[in-house]
């Protein structure tokens, strides 16, 4: 899911994954010469590179990207984000909310069968729910169902959910992968889902592909499900090759050993522009659901002053960072939401690169005197802080060096400290023992970010790491998650973005672009705000271009 040695992400991982890869409206297809139409045909094999070994085959009890990528072809949820990041029915046929947002009723499709031929019914939905909330289930996603009061199978194809209070993310939570009751009931009761054979050798879902084999550390093979309820997928076989080194993946692409992979910015921009590559592959580009930020510990009196944070925002040249670090393959972030989504608000306070204004803001905060080295001084103390970042992230290192040099011009001394990820998290972030840090957040299609910004979420294991507290923000977050009416939510989140932009609790830097390439013999790929993988079962290879006779 992520490239190279990424900046470590925090939080909300499931939600990122449920939505697949996100994207903004202006997705780009950079078609090589080979891209074109062609008649849909069944057959051929699609070979995709996975960066890590999968850790299991029941995604409900897992949390890593490669496992989710494979699982997305094996399982379905009741609902699913469509290409424009709007929730649509999947295993459900339709749903209905009561006026007070407390009752949610799903009508299920009647033509869905598990991979072993058993029909999918309301009993499976209830079972999946009970498994997710069971304290015996080692899942990280049980909290999505916290506000559920009861779930009932009204009849085999109707499920009724009662909520304790209106919950904005109620519908989205039913995107959880449905599990077969008839196979997993006993394992779930004993809390042994991870030990179940379905997690290792024999997963049974309802998805477009059937499981064939998993050779640990080597590959995962899936074959088309001829009885898939939306019709048999065109591509007969999918082979995920596990290739840990991104340099190797890139060479495999060049030698046509894999059909699809994600590129780094450097590979995308500089190393794939020759004719043979452009003929063999089509490159895609969209804004991913990850933004990089400069986090400041607001418990530090210097950073508690809003003017200092605003000064920092003015002192950082985001364009320069995007050009220098991502070769232009990223978009400026003005807040925690991705441009192009329904919740994004463009009319917030902007911080153009303006060193003079930054200096003025610092002066108004009392940073006027300078010492002999030219650094700002207040009460005899030089303005100096440590900037922490995770080891192995080339991106983070470059970002911090650019910030270091910009801040030096401002009169602020920055010391960069690189720390191994586990130690950074445990000894510095969780203990709130840091001054400033470069990190990234993975965001979700749903705008609820209560866990990140609410003032109650500051204990060591919680995500409001910077110690942000703003009464209006708390109120907006509570209201935003407490209704199922989207228009109303939009109001709250628009205002939230205004306040966050004004406050700059962190300095929002940029949203990375996702940069996948796919063999140009594969057709039917339509990039959309959600990415490219959402319609994988409609991808096909015209008969005359089949490379593998398999299947």
């Amino acid at each position: 899911m992520k490239g190279g040695h990424p900046l470590r992400l925090g939080g909300l991982l499931l939600l990122v994954v449920l939505a697949g890869c996100g994207s903004e409206a202006d997705t780009v297809v950079d078609a090589g010469a080979g891209q074109g139409g062609g008649k849909p045909a069944y057959g051929d094999t699609y070979v995709e590179a996975l960066q890590g070994n999968i850790s299991g085959l029941i995604p409900n009890v897992l949390s890593d990207g490669p496992s989710f990528e494979v699982a997305s072809l094996l399982y379905n949820g009741l609902v699913k984000y469509d290409k424009d990041l709007i929730l649509r029915p999947e295993l459900a046929e339709s749903w209905q909310y009561s006026r007070d947002c407390l009752d949610l009723t799903f009508k299920l499709r009647r033509d869905v069968r598990w991979h072993d031929g058993q029909p999918f019914t309301a009993a499976d939905v209830v079972f999946t729910y009970e498994t997710m909330i069971s304290p015996r289930t080692p899942t990280a996603y049980g909290s999505d169902f916290k506000s559920v009061d009861s779930v009932q199978a009204v009849d085999p194809y109707t499920v009724h959910v009662r909520y304790k209070h209106p919950t904005a993310k109620a519908l989205q939570s039913w995107g959880i992968w449905m599990l077969p009751k008839h196979l997993l009931e006993e394992a779930a009761r004993e809390g042994k889902l991870r030990e179940a054979p379905q997690n290792r050798t024999n997963p049974v879902g309802t998805g477009p592909y059937l499981f064939k084999e998993w050779k640990s550390g080597e590959k995962v093979v899936l074959v088309a499900n001829p009885n898939y309820f939306e019709g048999r997928p065109y591509i007969s076989r999918v082979v995920y090759r596990i290739i840990p080194s991104s340099a190797t993946t890139f060479l495999e692409l060049k030698a046509k050993g894999v059909d699809g992979a994600k590129l780094t910015a450097l590979q995308f921009k500089r190393q794939t522009e020759y004719p043979a590559f452009r003929k063999a592959y089509t490159k895609y580009q969209y804004a991913a659901n990850v933004y990089v930020y400069l986090g400041l510990n607001l418990r530090d009196p210097r950073f508690a002053d809003r003017r200092v944070r605003q000064a920092f925002a003015h002192a950082i040249n985001k364009r320069e960072i995007i050009e220098g670090v991502r070769l232009g393959l990223a978009r400026e972030a003005t807040g925690p939401y991705k441009p192009g989504t329904w919740q994004y608000n463009a009319n917030v306070h902007q911080y153009p690169f303006d060193p003079a204004k930054a200096r003025a803001l610092l002066a108004s905060a009392g940073w006027t005197a300078t010492d002999s080295d030219g650094f700002l001084v207040k009460n005899g103390q030089r303005f100096k802080f440590d900037l922490l970042l995770a080891q192995g992230s080339d991106e983070g290192r470059k970002v911090s060096e650019i910030i270091q040099s910009s801040f030096k011009d401002l009169g602020v001394q920055v010391e960069i400290r690189v720390i191994e990820w586990a130690a950074l998290l445990k000894d510095f972030i969780k203990k709130r023992n840091f001054e400033a840090v470069i990190l990234a957040w993975g965001i979700t299609p749903d705008p609820d970010q209560y866990d990140i910004w609410h003032s109650s979420k500051t204990s060591p294991d919680e995500l409001n790491r910077i110690g942000y507290a703003n009464a209006e923000v708390d109120d907006l977050l509570e209201k935003g998650r407490g209704t199922c009416v989207e228009a109303e939510r939009k109001k709250y989140y628009d205002r939230l973005q205004e306040v966050l932009a004004e406050d700059q609790p962190i300095v929002f830097l940029y949203f990375r672009d996702g940069l996948p390439v796919v063999s140009s013999r594969v057709r039917g790929i339509v990039p959309a705000p959600i990415g490219i993988n959402y319609n994988f079962n409609e991808w096909f290879v015209p008969l005359n271009l089949h490379r593998y006779t398999a299947g």
Binding site: P138, A140, E195, K215, K219, P244, S245, T248, L251, L463
Partner: protein, 331 residues
Amino acid sequence: MFGYALRRLILAIPLLIGITFISFLVIHLAPGEPVETTVGESSTQSDAKLRERLREIYGLDKPLHVQYWNWVTRLARLDFGRSFSPDARPVLQKIGERLPITLLLNIVELLIIVTLAIPIGVLSATRQYSTFDKITTVFVFVGFATPDFWLALMLMIVFGVQLGWLPISGLRSPTWEYLAFWKQQWDFLAHLVLPILVATFGGLAGFSRYMRQSMLEVVRQDYIQSARAKGLPERVVIGKHALRNALLPIVTVLGLSLPGLIGGSVIVESIFAIPGMGQLMVQAVFERDYPVIMGNLVIVATLTLVANLIADLTYSLVDPRIRVAARRGRR
């Protein structure tokens, strides 16, 4: 000699326990916990509960000495436990499925190194400062100085991308199950060529140098002089009298490289996408998968101790002096 071996074996037990205890301590001192990676980095309310639950399942909520005691007592029954990773599989099964490919690669590699390094070492020693010696010296320094990953990438670019003769990574082609039997074997072998080449290159350099050094010392000895004075042909002097003595230190080095056979090279395996022991260990360390790390460690430690013993015993086979000394000692 049997008594000697038995005594060594018994002495190895406390040593093994000491090794595992220190390793156990060191691994648990590293920051981060296995639950951290399973829970992900998110930590909402229910995740905190999950963390507690996982700590309980794994026994991480108990004091360290209790954890160690539980682990050792299970180990005494040869129960290596289950992996902490979400697949929750028995450690031995995980190691078992990764071991064959690593063993295969390392044994082939070691055989190639030995068969090439000994003649190279002998030749460059007997023809010291000749052109051959100079060429091998250069080769050796290049071999020492070349980073594995760089060599691997260069070979991949040349033989995989540009010439297209060999597959770049992995063990089998995506269409392997559709190939005829002999083609399958050929496909598998073709995938092994580059990794073995890379792994052999560095080892060959060191080993041949070692052989040369050992040979040089031996040919200066008096008994070589007297063998020559007796009028023995040079072939016999070098091949029999000198070589047998020069091989002694090599036996030690070989013995010590036995435990390395199951270790697997992290760099070679990662870059060639080979699912062997090296990759398993690295992943286990990143995930703080204690049972897998410790399981592997016990196996390696045991092998090291056994290999040491075997090396010592082999000495007496190749070196009559030791045999004689042992016999005298017994009398």
